[in-house]
Structure formats: C-alpha cells, structure tokens
C-alpha cells in the first residue's frame, strides 16, 4: 500500500495532463494533428491484433538480439580492458568517442550495408546500448577492494581466483545499472532503426501512419513501445533483485 501512496502525486499530475490534453484536442478538432487520449485508446483497441501479433514481435526481436550482442560485446570489452593496460589504453578513448557520433545520422549507412533486413536495426540498437554496459561493467570490475584482493592472495589465491571471487561479484551491481540504462535505450534504438527502413515493427508502423495523416495511429504503437520498455526494465530489475539478494540486508 505504501508503495502506491508514494506515487499519488505523480498519478494526479498525469490525470491533470491527460484531461487538459483531451480538452485541447476536443476544441481544436483536428484529430490527424492532435488526437485526444481517448482517440488513441480507441485506435489502440482497433489495431490491437496487428500491433501485438505482427509489429510487437518484430521490434522485440530487434531489441533482444541487439541487447544480447551488446551484453556479450560490452562485458567482453570490459573484461579485456580490465585485464590488459594496452587494451584499455587502445579502446577506452575510442569507446567514449563512439558516443560522440550522432548514431541517427549514421543509421542510413547501415541500411546501405544490410538493406532492410533485421541487422541494420540491430546494429543501431547495439551502437547505442553497448556503451552503458561496457563502461559500467568496466568501472565495476575495478571497484573491487584492494585490501580484499590482498587478503585472498595471503590465502594462496591465484589471479584467476581473485578475479572470480572479488572482481566479478563487485561488478555485478554496476553491470545491472548499465543494463537498466541499456534496456531503456534499446527501445529508442529499435524504433529509430525501423523509421529508416523496415517491413514490420512498431517504429515502422508509427511512421507509416504519419504518412497517412493518422495522428492516433502514430501514437498507438508508441504506447505499445513504451509499455514494452517498462516491462523490459521491470524484468531486469526483477532479475537484479534475485541475483543481488544480499543488497537487501544493507
């Protein structure tokens, strides 16, 4: 109960915004430019089959493959940078630099390379989600206490033991922080990718509705996208709580 009460004020604000929106939309009477929240909900209901059975799986597929690659790439890079100073010096600045590139501007070239296949979209997703995973995991690996590492050495631990017993567990909370950011970004990445060229997907559908001046049709898939983002986030949070049970005791 207490958990719900905390959200009372934001809930009230949300209702106020929706009511205002409804009122303004009602007065403008131009549904194709500003659909009202009820218009959007009705559209959502009307399109539920197409959206949930055809376009949602397409987008979810891009997100999951993209995140999967990002996790493998990000964790791999973090471990390599942690184990070798040379690799760290070579990669770290470039990884930071890669975030200065406006990914959206670069995306059309991926379409040139991979066509309208799923990989052009996956690549956009990977490009914006691997960064938070890499940097957080890398910081986490370095966060292990030196005193603890030395204590393990006095017990006769090898380098590998120290890594598995100290570095990896210390990195876990950081890894999950990175993953939570990445999940949120992955939804954006997939949607942008689909705008540029696709045959299915929620981002693609939203853009197609725009060309048809169907305002409510633009918003409806965005609601599904947001809901998906929230679900993915909650899923990661749930796994995090299960994995890091000890944090509750602190």
């Amino acid at each position: 109960m207490k958990k719900w009460r905390e959200h009372t004020y934001s809930f009230i604000l949300l209702v106020v915004v929706l009511v205002l929106w409804e009122a303004i939309a009602f007065n403008i009477k131009m549904t194709f430019i500003l659909p009202s929240p009820t218009d959007i909900l009705m559209k959502l209901w009307e399109l539920k089959k197409v959206l949930l059975l055809e376009h949602l799986p397409a987008t979810l597929c891009i997100i999951l493959i993209g995140l999967g690659i990002s996790i493998i790439l990000g964790v791999g890079l973090a471990i390599s940078m942690n184990s070798s100073k040379i690799i760290e010096k070579a990669f770290y600045p470039l990884i930071i630099f890669s975030q200065m590139i406006p990914t959206i501007a670069l995306a059309p070239i991926f379409i040139l390379w991979f066509g309208y296949s799923i990989w052009s979209k996956v690549l956009v997703t990977v490009l914006i989600t691997f960064f938070p995973i890499t940097i957080n995991t890398y910081d986490g690996l370095r966060a292990g206490s030196n005193d603890l590492k030395e204590l393990l050495l006095t017990m006769g631990a090898k380098k590998k033991d120290v890594f598995l017993l100290v570095n990896v567990p210390s990195a876990m909370p950081h890894f999950f922080s990175g993953l939570k950011v990445a999940v949120t970004l992955s939804v954006i990445g997939a949607a942008i990718g689909e705008w540029l060229g696709a045959q299915a997907g929620l981002g693609y559908f939203s853009r197609r509705m725009m060309t048809q001046f169907d305002g409510a049709g633009v918003f409806a898939p965005i609601i599904v996208l947001s809901a998906m983002g929230i679900m993915l986030f909650l899923l990661v949070k749930w796994v995090e709580n299960k994995t890091l049970m000890w944090r509750k005791s602190e």
Partner: protein, 258 residues
C-alpha cells in the same frame, strides 16, 4: 630433551618499499624469533611500520635483504602459508556468513558439501550458530570479527597474524572479544602475532611484547610479560605490571612526539 620449535624467524631482514628505491630503510638487518604456541604482541605508535611487518611475513612484500623462515624453512613465495586477519573484517557483503568463513577452503579447492559441514560445526562453536545463511550486514561488529577470525583459522596455518582486529569495536565488546580470543588460542594451540597500539591489550593477551621504534628498525625491544595463565583483567593492577605499563606508555609517547 624438550625442543620448542621455531615457527617464525627473521634472519637479518632489511626492507624498503620497492617503489622508493632510494627511500629510507624501514627495517635494517632486523632479527627476531617466534616459537610455536606463543602469543606475541607488536606494540608501536601508528606509522612505525607495524603493518609492513605483516606484509613481509605473509609474502605480500619481499625483503630487500635477509631471509624470513617459516617453521625453519625458507620459502621464496610465502603466500598461502600464514593466516592473516586484517583490521577491518573484510567480509564479502555478497556472501553469506558460512560462505565467507569457507573462503580459504574454497581457494584450496574443497568441495561445497564438505565445506558446509565443517564450517557449520565451527560457527556453532564460535557462538554463531543459526547465522550461517545471513549476510555480514545483518551481524554486529563483534560477530563479524569472530567470522573473520574463523576464516583466518580455516586457512589451516599454524601462524596467525592479527592486525589490530578489535580496534574498531566499542570498549565492552572489545574486552569480551579479548577474553574469547585467549580461549580460542589456548584451545587451538596456534601461534599468534598480534598488532596493537593499546598497552593494556598487549599486556593482557601476550607472553612477549615487541616494541617497534621509529624506522629504520634493527632491533625490536623484546619484553616478556610476567603473568601466569589463565589471566584476569585484575592481574593488570599488580604493582609489577603497573610499572611495566608506565614504561611502555612512556616509550610510545616519546616516539609519538619526536
């Protein structure tokens, strides 16, 4: 003839931190010997290089000159041969109590099930029964230090180095932990080297007290404590000990001011 075994011997050991090649020597051909089953305290003001001594014994640092012998043998790599208990408990917050205590067994490659049984037994003996599956953050400071001590015992080493293990505890917990430690020492027949800057603690616990002077140290003053065992805290009030206590405090004080 009864021979008492030497478990630790410093043979003209010199040391300076390797990063400061031209830096001052911390120890200069230092010699001392610790025999099996002894309880020796190392007393000195902060900054006198007490912890450095332990880093040398454990093998985290190597002497610049001279040799360190364990049980009469010379090992070039001493890591894994002596048990070390640090000042902070250094329990891993992500491991339960029994998993923390079992750490040295795990490093030596024991099986999960075997570890659980032997650790559970010892936890009970240490007054920690029923806490096996809790996390360190749920335990009091005194309990955490007992887990940390158990972890040190489980290294299986004959020589245990305790680095101011009780300095972060409140005065009352500290007293009961000192008495508890003495019981454990008598029961387990280990050799203990105990770093402290507390004169009372050193007198109450040890057979001998080594006093560290300012570096470079070539000889630690070796003071036997003229008390029988079992000891009570009241024993510290007899005149002979009072004189010794004053002398030690004076020695520490002059070192702190100069």
């Amino acid at each position: 003839m009864l021979m008492i075994k030497t478990v630790l011997h410093f043979d003209s050991v010199s040391f300076r931190y390797p990063k400061q090649e031209k830096g001052p020597l911390i120890y200069d051909s230092m010699k001392f010997t610790v025999r099996e089953g002894e309880f020796v305290s190392i007393l000195g003001p902060s900054g006198a290089g007490k912890s450095t001594l332990f880093r040398l014994i454990t093998g985290l640092e190597q002497p610049t000159g001279g040799k360190i012998l364990l049980n009469g043998e010379y090992f070039s790599n001493r890591l894994g041969h002596v048990g070390y208990m640090p000042q902070q408990d250094l329990l891993m917050p992500w491991r339960t109590i029994w998993e923390n205590a079992a750490l040295p067994l795990q490093i030596k490659g024991s099986k999960q099930a075997d570890m659980r049984i032997s650790v559970e037994e010892l936890l009970k003996e240490f007054g920690l029964g029923g806490h096996e599956d809790r996390y360190p953050a749920e335990l009091s400071g005194g309990m955490r230090q007992r887990v940390s001590f158990l972890r040190t015992i489980l290294t299986g080493s004959q020589v245990l180095l305790l680095d101011e293990p009780f300095s972060a505890l409140d005065a009352i917990t500290r007293l009961s932990m000192q008495e508890w430690l003495l019981k454990q020492w008598e029961k387990r027949k280990k050799t203990i080297l105990f770093i402290t800057h507390d004169v009372n603690e050193a007198l109450f616990l040890s057979e001998r007290i080594f006093v560290l002077t300012d570096p470079p140290v070539s000889r630690m003053e070796d003071i036997p404590v003229p008390l029988d065992r079992p000891r009570t805290l009241k024993a510290l009030d007899i005149p002979e000990i009072m004189v010794l206590k004053d002398r030690l405090i004076d020695q520490l004080r002059t070192k702190a001011t100069t």
